[in-house]
Subunit: 351 residues, 2 copies
């Protein structure tokens, strides 16, 4: 079969462009991961960073949920912090505590010391994984590439890891805005180049994860984050692939996120899908089941899936997803069941 | 001086009733706590639970910020989990990890085993602290009593402590709604009785902390939390003191929180104060500076305080506060400076 014509017709890509689809496409953030036995089997022998560093392993893990769940898109298995390693920062994952960066960035000197990054040479293993996945998918479903948005990546490298209050991040932002803006400028440059590299390697869509941006007041988002996120979307737009803009706790930020860019805006479960869509009416939307709903009994889970679909009301431009990533311990058969529920409930015949 | 007439004129109480004030009242959530040397001195000799258990100590800690900061209200020093001890649950605070409940509530049997609580006998030490504080305040500023809202308290006792994803809480809610509703019914009864006891002991206002309710989709808030919060406000309303209803990450929930009750609705920094107030136009509002702003250089802090005040636009019914509690490490002189900034910027003469 000829790949290109088929791919432009994939429901995921059509929905991202707000074109009618014969079925609502569905995929899940963290659809490859610890909840899946196939993934845990690989993790018995390889660390998270080893999987990311070895294209064959990253490709294998990327494909696991495509085989097992029947989702409408693959998303590259990687970590949003991979690009900080060629910047000159240390990155480790400690059991249960997440990422640790032992040389956090907090001063003008720290920012000046960040190295230039060339995606092709410095992150070539990720781009190679993209090429492998594309070859192995052979056109079955589109492949989504991704990166962290500048604010979210900055928060990790300023805090030295995950954070609850983003104290060091905001102290830098409020107390040394020049340093903050210099850091964000460098990050937006690196992240745009990284995403462009993924697209050139074959990613058919990209998602920008601004997962922690919900901690910002709207005025702070506008002043300290929006310009850098917008720079990435503007640089990538000529490359022609759909772009997804995702965050958590963003009910007050959706209009500003739309302004920053993205063909598809991610919605979490704390805003009803229709209310969220009304704030970004000229974009597609992605979401917004609570990840914990996947732990509910099947009848209750089905009720919740149908509630999301009812709020989408069959409008072109809805990509079904969670409001955040799949949690460890999620029953795989429930995830699989959601794919079927979405497909069965929305089958409309060929548009 | 006669206490009663003075007290009804306190700016905090007037603002809570949306009456004009000669100055915008200001207090801070967690205004007594680790950031303050006077508090740390007491904590060197006493655990958190010891302070709560000993009325003289609780009263002393309650008064520290009144003396040091010049705030317009005192808030009783206590913990929202104190009422779970007479329910029959174990409560410990581990260093750095917060509360731990070793016998969490997850089944119908667990709920049935919860004991009846009588505030006067089972939480008499808290009510005695209220009486002591009132006597020592001698009418200088009003005293706020408080409790956790049923959802937030339930989340701790179901999870066994603090939580990020509220997995066990929502599993119970979605998978065993009868058990959930039975638990929430008991909690709302206990918490209403506890707050009524505080009011009878002398609390001149109360705040209901539904700190973690922002994790709920609006439809879930309506079904699983709102009825129990409303039951508390309805039971307390005849007692005639102003009631504050507070949560974090509630941009999508404000209208429903208003429906549940409260004379004053708490706003966090993720929604502009005027936008939040527009969603609850017939209530007073409290907020909404980002607690991290207290770490900013004084000029930047002042800019942020003035921004909040500008959005309140001098409208009657604004109580200045943070969007959440003061963080450990906050510079005390910055907190004190905010009190002065608010008072100086809003001095309007006698209304």
């Amino acid at each position: 079969m000829a790949v290109s014509p088929v791919m432009t017709e994939a429901p995921f890509l059509r929905a991202a462009r707000r074109q009618p689809t014969d079925v609502t496409p569905v995929w899940f953030m963290r659809q490859a991961g610890r909840y899946m036995a196939e993934y845990r089997a690989i993790r018995e022998h390889h660390s998270l960073l080893e999987i990311c560093a070895r294209p064959a392993l990253a490709a294998e893990v990327t494909l696991q949920p495509v085989e097992r769940l029947g989702v409408d898109a693959a998303i590259l298995f990687a970590d949003i912090l991979l690009p900080i390693v060629p910047l000159g920062l240390s990155l480790e994952f400690t059991a249960g505590e997440g990422p640790v960066i032992r040389n956090p960035v907090r001063t003008a000197r720290d920012v000046a010391a960040l190295r230039a990054v060339d995606a092709e040479t410095d992150l070539g293993h990720v781009l190679e994984a993209v090429r492998l996945v594309r070859a192995e998918l052979a056109g079955r479903v589109p492949l989504i590439g991704f990166a962290g948005a500048p604010f979210t990546v900055a928060s990790y490298i300023v805090e030295g890891g995950a954070s609850r209050h983003f104290l060091e991040t905001k102290k830098l932002m409020y107390g040394a805005p020049d340093v903050w803006h210099a850091l964000m400028g460098k990050l937006s440059e690196v992240l745009a180049g990284y995403l462009a590299g993924q697209i050139r390697a074959g990613a058919q869509a990209v998602q920008l994860f601004d997962s922690w941006v919900g901690t910002l007041a709207p005025a702070d988002y506008r002043a300290y984050a929006l310009p850098y996120t917008r720079a990435i979307f503007e640089r990538l737009r000529p490359l022609g692939v759909p772009m997804i803009h995702f965050g958590v706790g963003t009910a007050s930020l959706l209009q500003l996120q739309r302004e920053a860019g993205g063909d598809v805006i991610g919605l979490d479960w704390t805003i009803p899908l229709d209310a969220g869509w009304a704030r970004v009416p000229d974009r597609a939307v992605q979401g917004n089941l609570d990840p914990v709903a996947l732990f509910a009994p099947p009848a209750e889970l089905q009720r919740r899936v149908r509630e999301v679909l009812a709020r989408a009301a069959g409008r072109a431009g809805h990509i079904f997803n969670l409001g955040h990533g799949i949690l460890p311990g999620t029953p795989v058969d429930h995830v699989r069941a959601v794919v079927d529920m979405v497909h069965e409930a929305t089958a409309r015949g060929t548009p």
